[in-house]
């Protein structure tokens, strides 16, 4: 392990031990080695003596923020990458969690993860909301371009491309489980009264599922790439959501997960919103 990550890990362990033994938090959600495979998995530490198990490495790719929803009503500490803090910001904006219920241990100067393409398109390298910073914040700002690989294609080509991509979908809903935005009590994909979309695998229902999924993400997806990492079929999961992210940015100057006070895209409006594409 590189020195930088060792240092971060040490700092996390030290601070966690302090927080837990002082009773400031009831548990810390962080990363650690699995019991059997020794791979990095999320771990939940509530005993100060176990704080040494907390680690931070370049393989820490899961979004931990979603676990916060399981611990509403008690004070929880969380080891958060900048994208996790954006997720927490969305939760705060949607009032899913209370600010005082979460203690955020934010990691500064994120370099991105090894096997996540979305990290290259991410301009947020320091935590957005934070209680305790670890490491030095990155000074220079970066404004990476969010790529659109399908821009060159005609409409028909894109349609065919998506048909082909989505036909591989096995509807395992790993994307939904991995996504921090997916917090509905009952998912539209599971609902059968009304049945929004057929539950079986088929080109037609698969396409519908992906369109509906993207529509649910609009104005909340932070383009973190967790869905794409989770997908066992390697589907280009981010294509649709990324497009909507870009549209929201261009048309409404709205980027989710940057300001806990700001309402999400569909929860507010402006009197002079664009009507581009409407019949006049």
């Amino acid at each position: 392990m590189e020195n930088k990550y060792l240092e971060i890990s040490k700092k996390i362990q030290e601070e966690s031990r302090k927080l837990l033994s002082e009773g400031k938090v009831e548990r810390i959600i962080g990363f650690g080695r699995g019991e059997f495979t020794k791979e990095i998995t999320p771990i939940f530490v509530s005993d100060p003596d176990r704080a040494d198990e907390l680690l931070f490495t370049p393989e820490c790719d899961m979004m931990l923020a979603k676990y916060l929803l399981d611990y509403k009503g008690s004070k929880t500490g969380i080891v958060a990458k900048p994208c996790d803090t954006r997720a927490i910001t969305v939760y705060l904006a949607e009032e899913l969690i209370k600010r005082e219920e979460v203690f955020i241990i934010g990691i500064n100067d994120c370099e991105g993860l090894d096997d996540n393409d979305a990290c290259e398109e991410c301009g947020i390298r320091n935590p957005v909301v934070v209680d305790l910073e670890i490491g030095q914040p990155r000074k220079e700002e970066i404004d990476p371009e969010i790529k659109d690989e399908l821009e060159e294609m005609t409409r028909e080509e894109r349609f065919e491309y998506f048909q082909k991509e989505f036909s591989r979908c096995i509807r395992c809903y790993a994307c939904r489980e991995a996504c921090f935005v997916c917090t509905c009590d009952e998912c539209f994909a599971d609902s059968n009264q009304p049945q929004w979309v057929g539950a079986s695998i088929g080109k037609r229902d698969n396409f519908t599922f992906h369109l509906m999924r993207a529509m649910h993400m609009a104005g909340r997806c932070i383009n973190c790439g967790a869905c794409e990492q989770a997908c066992p079929e390697g589907i280009n999961m981010r294509a649709l959501t990324k497009h909507l992210y870009r549209v929201a940015k261009d048309v409404y100057q709205f980027e989710p997960g940057l300001d806990p006070e700001e309402k999400t895209l569909f929860a507010t409006y402006k009197l002079n919103d664009s009507e581009q594409g409407f019949l006049d």
Binding site: E160, K203, R204, F207, L240, S274, E275, G277
Partner: protein, 154 residues
């Protein structure tokens, strides 16, 4: 594939109770002529229309959709159509990006006194959808065969 020339599109029209539905009513009671291919669904407000309903319409074989609410500022519930406006713009962008022709997804505003405008809008929407032809479904297999099967019980 159904022949394009005698193609009679099926268009779902989601009209808000307070303006657009009244406009349709006015167009009717004023005996204005407009194409009969729309199927009207009356909803309380354009803000009520979940984008899922429109996606589902395409999944079930609608050739196009038309959503019409009160003009911005005139909403019976004060701001329902402002919320709707954002949603529909995003939906339109999504559908277009996914490769569904933009002619199939239509949004507009129509007040209760605009019977004439309503007739003109329907005219335009039907012409637009006739232009792009029958909707073949997300799998491109078309809906005609399914209808035959259902009718013939085969």
């Amino acid at each position: 594939m159904a022949a394009k020339e005698n193609f009679e599109p099926k268009i779902l029209a989601f009209l808000c109770n307070w303006c657009s539905y009244a406009a349709a009513d006015l167009a009717g009671s004023s005996r204005m002529q407009y194409p009969p291919q729309i199927r009207v669904i009356r909803v309380p407000c354009s803000g009520r229309i979940d984008p899922f309903l429109l996606i589902r319409a395409f999944n079930s074989g609608a050739d196009g959709v038309l959503v019409s609410g009160c003009h911005p500022g005139d909403c019976h519930y004060l701001d329902g159509n402002y919320y709707a406006r954002r949603r529909f713009l995003m939906l339109k962008e999504l559908m277009q990006y996914a490769g569904i022709p933009e002619e199939r997804v239509n949004f507009t505003w129509c007040s209760a006194s605009e019977g004439k405008r309503f007739a003109a809008i329907v005219d335009r929407v039907v012409a637009r959808i006739k232009e792009v032809g029958p909707w073949e479904g997300f799998d491109g297999r078309g809906f005609a065969r399914r209808e035959e099967e259902m009718a013939g019980g085969k």
